[in-house]
């Protein structure tokens, strides 16, 4: 089995290093890997990112992340990514990575994702250029997520567990509690469709602070909203069984 710690939306500011460090202190004793579901910083400033990087670098477990909309606000994504990478954090965007865990392999495919809405109330690539760009952005991110998941599926050495890591939500279930009028800004069904086409053991996302924790994709894959305000603690730990025991 593997234990996965996950949290999103920690929104680190300049003075938050101690608070975050205390929360994450025992994570390496409780889990094999830490997955971060974006919105690591308050507004995507490199100085905020450095505060977080200094907390993450000493942790004795692999850390994998996607960025969130807050991490884009200062428009310094390359620098934010470099600071995290230098601290040993793997930053995914339409890409995948693998982590060895006691002779087995965890595969993680990630993207920030984007909005657009859900079945029956979703954006279309039609009309004004800005509207087409908005809708197209999610289409492209979902396609990249699907390719990343397939790259894990098609690898010479198959992975034992496959997780999709997002910031925006792939389903409406985990948005319950948010104002329905903003669902289209909180996620897109295209992300769920991408995961359902390939398959995964778990989908993690953040972004919806007032949402709920648990849901399923239309194909029945478990989804967890790990936005910190939803969790009421520093992170959640999930245990995935070994594939042979899961199949039994």
């Amino acid at each position: 089995m593997i234990r996965i710690a996950a949290v999103g939306d920690i929104h680190v500011g300049y003075d938050d290093g101690d608070r975050i460090a205390q929360g994450l202190a025992p994570v390496a004793d409780q889990a094999d890997v830490l997955l971060l579901a974006g919105d690591l910083t308050r507004c995507g400033e490199p100085a905020e990112t450095k505060v977080l990087a200094d907390v993450l670098a000493p942790l004795d477990l692999p850390v994998i992340t996607v960025l969130g909309n807050h991490d884009h606000h200062a428009e310094q994504v390359d620098e934010v990514t470099r600071i995290l990478t230098d601290a040993g954090v793997e930053v995914l965007e339409g890409t995948a990575t693998t982590v060895p865990v006691r002779g087995r392999t965890l595969g993680v495919a990630g993207t920030k994702g984007f909005g657009g809405g859900f079945v029956g109330a979703s954006a279309s690539e039609f009309g004004e250029p800005v509207m087409k760009r908005f809708a197209r952005c999610t289409v492209e991110m979902a396609a990249a997520l699907e390719r990343a998941l397939r790259s894990l599926d098609d690898a010479e050495t198959p992975v034992d567990w496959q997780v999709a890591l997002l910031h925006y939500s792939p389903i409406e279930d985990t948005l319950r509690g948010e104002h329905p009028g903003i669902y289209a800004f909180l996620g897109s069904y295209l992300l769920a469709e991408a995961v359902d086409r390939v398959g995964a053991d778990l989908v993690l996302h953040g972004h919806a602070h007032a949402g709920t924790e648990r849901g399923l994709t239309p194909a029945g894959i478990k989804v967890r909203n790990v936005a910190q305000p939803v969790l009421d603690c520093a992170y959640r730990v999930f245990e995935l069984p070994d594939p042979e025991s899961a199949a039994a």
Binding site: R3, I10, H11, G13, D15, D16, R19, I20, Q22, G23, L24, A25, P26, V27, D29, Q30, R42, C43, H70, H73, H179, D201, L202, H209, A210, K222, R224, Q228, P229, D232, C233, A234, Y235, R236, V237, F238, E239, L240, P241
Partner: protein, 103 residues
Amino acid sequence: MIAGFTPTRDGKTCDVTVQPDPEPVEYVVERVREAIAQADTHELGVTVRAAGGRLLLTGTASSEPHRAAITTVVERAAPGYEVVNELCVAPTTPPPAGQVEQL
């Protein structure tokens, strides 16, 4: 505009005073939400409701200083309103050992 009639001291004549309409609370609420998002607080998850000259803030803030900073931003964005900050601070304590969700 609102016109008001104020009697003068001799009681024989009236001054006409003209006051601006109070801004509809809907616009105040949206201005406050935008201020919270754009100021150093950079918080998008605050629900703002106006009632009886008060602005009620609910949702979560990431820390106590962040929560206090949001009050300051709102007071500046909506002078004249009493700010009722009922934001919760998102707990960041680690989960107890053994608290694991088996999937």
